[in-house]
Point group: D2
Chain length 346, copies 4
């Protein structure tokens, strides 16, 4: 049984980790870390956990925690883990970080986009970017996983086969993404009140959202060229789900069937990536509560452009589910252990 | 492995059966019955089932089906099963009926409220009302289970301990219930369009909703007297969930602690009924996607009345989850096999 | 032109006042008071007001304000107005208070339910309870209007004709109400975040909600007896709207037609109360954005009980719209001036 | 008083016409046309109209109607008006068509995208495309107005100043739009049921949505070159609202201030177009129920691309409100008569 500690268990991603790990045969949560709810019963914070979790929330003493568990999940604000991570901690326990602290290899890029001084750049190189579909082989041996962002996961997997195959003019790539509100976190801000979000759509972070360099980095690796793109996230009135609609010019002559074949070939062995049938766009309702990413590509011959759609649950495959997928790989379990969740509809 | 057939697998309750049974270790669905989608791939109707279900929808030949499976779930319109059920079918396979056809023991009451002539009253007596928390002992030997209605399940479990103990003046009982829209079914009616339901609350079926006699019958058994009550359901703008708020005068002197003790005693061994802490009303968000019913009782000393709250997922514990719970009991499995689902939040 | 000042213009009710008064031919807002947004442009706080309001938010100097306007609306937390109101203010300007400070005539009842020491009980007697449909004659001469609460407005108007006529056994009265989230205010609380409210229903304030004594007082006047009732509000996932479902035993023999006649007679001259057709329950979708209250009564002969339904927009007729209706009466305008808003659907 | 007839008054756009015209001082609806609800009271179909509309729904005898009114609004399925419009009708009454029948000047383009044979191409040339902000001068004299589509209105107004000024490389233009569900109409389709739409986002009509050629035509006029673009609409879980996010490469060197100046100059005299402050993206919540279009432009210097945002209410400015705006111009009224509606928030 893998002993698990969670720092930040009372946010939405942290709570989703708890949901998933309670249903995981090989893992046991022994430390429910929280900043705001220390000494309160976890089930008093999240009523869905009544009679399922008896624990009381603990603090975030990372050193002590690392002595008591096999793996630590950190679902914490940007910069926090970087400010407290030590070699000693990593020597004691594996760390899967759901924040952005170790995702970007170039520390200056990180600091420029996040407006934070990185406190432990020495761990960046070692950290493995935990997107198993692209990076599977490096995960088992890792001590530190940088769990990908929600938008980067959905964006990268939606675009990857065509980027990798050199089909796209990467300089024309535009990503228009739509997210449910759980991505905005669980702190009491007016902007995230029910009445402010309900019955509305808006773009935010136009041209400066911090997931931009993360997506650019991954697609640069895929395409072998330095990618600069437009990424525009939107807030949609729903709890969960991310929808990505990406656009790019095709630089080589290619048919719909050839595009389809590329997606099917790339993802044929991937349990969590579902390539939809010809003509069916991805929809978030079909992935809710699961670790699936649904993708499909469309070719518009009039404009010689592809429209790539991807849908996933932002706090499952976009955060906690992917983190558990990484944990499974790190501990030699089946990659989908505890993650064979059928999407909940409606 | 229990072989399962579903008649009506393309409604919301039918689809929830599929979701639950796919995650059930001891069951295998071999027949996906449908009226509207025969010969279509099930995963083309419900995109969440892509790569999880390969089957094509079949018709509703109950006799043939009964030869191929161990148990049949019928999630069909009122009156349908009663019109086709035969002794031969019951000799071949167990039947768990999610419709109302065999729930009400008095056929005249059924016909009066449902405005349908009952086509097979000979099976009513044999049918076991499948509310395990009240009727557990009769379920294992049954051939035919009348799976309770959504409102009756939540109402009965919210009120049962006080009704059974004679605490309530049953003539004063009023049930005000609120349901998500999945309870209204999946046919294309204007009244259930997004824009008609969203941003609105309404009562419906005032004084004539067909779940009334079902609740009255169960609470009559519990209280030992003939119960007549007001039941008013409301449509709430959400996918899933039922909330019951029930009111009744207390006829004996009783304290809050005594009421609490009754609930805790009655439900202490019930996995699926969670008695909440003092002062915490039931909320549907904490049970979504699970088979739990959360209940709590409040005593208003000013008016000498209790206010009883109950929350559950209308298509899980209110339909498909309870049906699987019955199946588990009928086949000698752990009652919560395949049903230890942690509620999905948010 | 009536000069208007608003204290608390940056809450939801305050903003609705602005919306209504901008469309009112005889009124002009000259003071946009706010605690949190002083010196910010009002249109920067509420983007719907861009190009419609040029003002900057001002503070809450009530004395100064009273010198500059004809009428002051206070949409402020409970107890605030009572702590600052003076004879001098009332000598300068009329005051329409949307808080509860002067609604309840018995100061001990107020203090017991609100857990607040009343700071200016000397004004309670003078204050007129501003429910025009019941109290119209007293409003024109008033200096101080206690604008009714949202739940009390909808509850009282739904029940009034039968209470007044002595039809009901008032000791059996139970009010089960459902409100949209705007009623919870615009401060950044976790409980009101989108993801906490969406896809959920819950009761709150069971047996202790502060609108209870206000409803009891009004229905006591109507029925001529001291009324004690159960009032249970619920939070529903929608922006606007209140639905009331009330239950009471009938104490005299009465037919459906007689009940209907009572409602139609009582409300035949009321522009804002619409008695629906036989058998049509009130729905909040039909009143959104308007000052209407839709009501309808149902008689359940089985239980000898009436079920009374009422629907209105909680921040229009339930707050700002009713306040403008009071202003119209106070200043000798047509009662529906600026309020002939057609409900917005969908 | 302008006498008005509406064909298709029982769809969402038709009903919005009724809402707006009831609040219009100079217009009176005398004919409520409907296919599905003939002989039913209009207020029985739309409960918001109780006590506001006494009329019974009539059929769609266009010739007779044209003799009884000054102007006819047709909110009908594509192809319908074209199949019944005659010179005689146009001689009797002005026609404002909310369908697409006369929007596209090239009949082959219309037929190719709409898959319909045009039944009255002789009126296409005469029809004036009723986007007043671009085409104001031609509207007063017109007999037949082709009222623009919802997406084309929001898209064109969001992009127009930069297209007109030659700032954009029009071959790079991509429009990603998000619409509320009222745009999908009021017929009972499974795809538009509450549970199918709620908690989900999806793209639809990828590369073949019929508003594409309409947008292309308008932007071709603006830019003076033939425009081909990608237009991808999405369905968002909300009743009303369209959000447009458009992307294009800048072909000339331009600064943020210069872009801002262009928008402010172009729209300074437009009552219904609001250019937002620097850095504020358009949000649909701020325009709900009104005839405003909010626009704002962003320059991403990293990619040399602009991101253009626009928000409006799809059934007001996107349909009925714009139609009334056209009526006002045709009859010599103030353009915003009856349309100075303050957006309803929340």
């Amino acid at each position: 049984m893998i002993k698990v500690g969670i720092i930040g268990s009372t946010g939405y991603a942290g709570q989703e980790l708890v949901r998933l790990l309670l249903q995981h045969k090989e893992a046991e949560i022994v430390w429910y870390g929280s900043k705001s709810y220390v000494d309160q019963r976890y089930a008093d914070v999240f009523g869905n956990m009544v009679e399922l979790v008896d624990h009381v929330c603990q603090g975030d003493d990372l050193v002590q925690l690392s002595k008591e568990v096999d793996v630590i999940f950190t679902a914490t604000p940007q910069g926090y883990l970087a400010s407290i991570l030590t070699e000693g901690v990593l020597a004691n326990a594996k760390v899967i970080d759901l924040s952005a602290d170790y995702r970007i290899k170039d520390v200056q890029t990180y600091e420029a986009w996040y407006k934070i001084k990185h406190q432990s750049p020495q761990f960046i190189k070692e950290a493995v970017y935990g997107l198993p579909e692209l990076n599977r082989s490096k995960i088992p041996g890792a001590r530190l996983i940088a769990n990908p962002g929600c938008y980067p996961t959905c964006s990268t997997l939606s675009i990857y086969p065509l980027a990798k195959e050199g089909v796209l003019d990467m300089s024309t790539l535009i990503i228009d993404a739509k997210s449910g509100v759980s991505g905005a976190g669980r702190s009491g801000k007016v902007a995230n009140l029910y009445c402010e979000v309900n019955e509305s759509m808006k773009a935010y972070g136009i041209s400066n959202h911090r997931h931009t360099p993360e997506i650019e980095e991954q697609l640069s690796y895929a395409s072998g060229e330095e990618v600069k793109l437009n990424f525009t996230p939107h807030l949609a009135p729903m709890n969960r789900g991310i929808l990505v609609t990406a656009y790019a010019n095709v630089k080589t002559k290619i048919t719909r069937d050839e595009i389809r074949n590329l997606y099917e070939t790339y993802y044929q062995d991937e349990y969590f990536v579902r390539v939809l049938k010809e003509g069916i766009p991805a929809e978030t309702r079909w992935v809710e509560g699961s670790n699936f990413v649904d993708v499909n590509a469309f070719l518009d011959e009039r404009t010689n452009r592809v429209i790539l759609t991807g849908a996933m649950d932002n706090i499952t495959k976009g955060a906690a589910g992917q983190a558990v997928q990484n944990m499974n790989l790190m501990f030699g379990l089946a990659e989908n252990e505890g993650l064979k969740l059928v999407p909940v509809f409606p």
